[in-house]
């Protein structure tokens, strides 16, 4: 027996409720709009918020890309892509440039996003102040008053302990000069990509039941201090497969004797560069398990 789903799984009333939340989120950049998050056929933590946002905006003409830590071929990305192939019948792609909707867990693609593209983030903890103040009633008041002193104290304590701001992912930002927002656990390397992006950015937190957004062409400024300005992560070496010097790199341990390599976390970016002829130091000798085998 085959099961027939409504287009993109969710029922129409749920979609309308999520769509109303999305419009409010866009109208109030960085503000977390509460929404009636539904049970999805996957556990919390697997992107139920992102999936609900994607399901509410997706149409038959869309081309969907799903990434998990930059990769199109990891379990979470593959299963969500299949979910929408099954329930919505949409075309899917791994090419960033081809996609109209990109659902992401913890990365922003390296290729600059264009107007007309929508980036949907999966968010575990939407509240940037949550680890500093556990009470929702209090954090809500702090947002209402735009009282973000706590966060600055936290960053200051980083400096006092480590000599620099040690937050490297989920680095808090101020959106449109008003709300402090958690950009989800993307590396701080990606923070500059959110600023003045031509693409619409939507954030969905399923367990925490919040949706928020950054409209295109919106100022997104990482919190910092005049004498300790925000610094995106830099890598001292290029990708070992495609020789890119501008992308975010993952460290891959190769054996138990300390051998390791650094490769692009964005698999599509790395593949496109390799097919354009760029060759990294270890291309050709990389282990087969990386799926890039010996190439001539």
């Amino acid at each position: 027996m085959s099961i027939t789903y409504n287009f993109a799984y969710l029922d129409e009333q749920t979609k309308r409720m999520i769509r109303r939340a999305i419009l409010k989120a866009i109208a109030i950049p960085g503000y977390q709009v509460p929404f009636a998050s539904r049970e999805m056929p996957m556990p919390y933590g697997w992107g139920t918020g992102g999936v609900q946002v994607t399901a509410a905006i997706l149409g038959p003409q869309d081309v969907l890309k799903v990434i998990d830590q930059g990769a199109d071929d990891t379990t979470n990305a593959v299963s969500i892509r299949r979910f929408f192939e099954t329930t919505a019948g949409v075309r899917t792609t791994t090419h960033t440039g081809e996609a109209t909707v990109i659902q992401t867990r913890h990365r922003i693609p390296e290729l600059t996003l264009q107007a007309g593209q929508t980036l949907v983030y999966q968010v575990p903890i939407p509240e940037p102040l949550r680890f500093l103040e556990p009470r929702e009633t209090e954090t809500r008041t702090l947002h209402a008053l735009a009282d973000y002193g706590l966060m600055h104290v936290k960053l200051y304590e980083d400096i006092a302990h480590h000599g620099h701001i040690a937050t490297t992912y989920a680095y808090p930002v101020t959106v449109a000069g008003r709300y402090v927002m958690d950009p989800s656990p993307i590396p701080k390397f990606d923070n500059p990509k959110m600023h003045n992006s031509a693409a619409l950015q939507l954030f969905g937190a399923g367990r925490e039941k919040r949706i928020y957004a950054i409209p295109p062409y919106t100022t997104v400024v990482p919190l910092d201090f005049e004498d300790h300005p925000f610094e995106p992560t830099r890598f001292g070496q290029p990708c070992d497969l495609c020789a890119s010097t501008t992308s975010y790199l993952d460290e891959v341990v190769l054996d138990d004797r300390g051998k390791r390599m650094f490769v692009c976390s964005d698999t599509d970016h790395c593949e496109e560069r390799r097919s354009a002829g760029h060759r990294g130091r270890l291309l050709g000798s990389a282990p087969e398990a990386l799926g890039v085998g010996p190439r001539s």
């Binding site: 309308r16 769509r19 109030i28 149409g59």
Partner: protein, 195 residues
């Protein structure tokens, strides 16, 4: 007899919403709406499509006098949305205003609270069009630099009304202007002045 709603509730609803999302994300841009041709005349095809894509039994709607007095409109919205009606602007999640020239003061609507600025009214306002009439300069989130727009059939003091609304940020109302086959959104985050 009650007029037919979306020919395809699922896909037409999605297409209308995407136009709304693009409109809200790019204030001042004109988005195309595939209207409901069978809609009651007073409501019009465009505003009907926008209303049916957003409104349901969970949202309270306010109708202006012309729409509220029209039995066809009332029956159409009641059947297709089941939305409870309110005569008080200040209680409405959505307010349907058929004539932009007769738009009530924006301060009459629900602006939300500082803790919950999302608990505010979204206004659907019918106007003549976006290709002639008074010109305005917009800036703010969603706009690359500035945008110049024309609104035909809006209140003469619209810029004043919207500037006062902007002062309330993050509270305030959001507006979706509906003309024949086209919409334009002005969220509360947009700054406006007359050109």
């Amino acid at each position: 007899m009650i007029a037919q709603g979306f020919a395809d509730p699922v896909l037409s609803g999605q297409k209308t919403f995407r136009a709304l999302m693009d409109a809200m994300a790019r204030p001042g841009s004109i988005q195309i709406i595939d209207g409901i041709k069978t809609a009651p005349e007073a409501l019009g095809p465009t505003m009907s499509a926008v209303a049916l894509s957003l409104v349901d039994h969970e949202t309270t709607i306010h109708l202006d006098r012309r729409l509220g007095d029209d039995a066809d409109v009332r029956a159409f919205l009641a059947f297709h949305t089941s939305a409870p009606r309110t005569s008080e602007c200040a209680n409405a999640d959505f307010a349907l205003v058929s004539d932009g020239l007769a738009m009530p003061d924006l301060a009459a609507f629900k602006a939300g609270t500082n803790a919950y600025p999302d608990r505010s009214t979204t206004l659907l306002i019918g106007i003549s069009g976006f290709h002639s009439g008074r010109r305005y300069i917009l800036s703010g989130p969603g706009i690359d630099g500035i945008a110049t727009v024309s609104l035909d059939g809006a209140r003469a003091d619209l810029a004043e009304q919207l500037s006062a609304n902007r002062q309330l940020f993050p509270c305030g109302v959001d507006i979706i202007f509906c003309a024949a086959g086209e919409i334009m959104a002005l969220p509360r985050s947009t700054r406006i002045s007359e050109a």
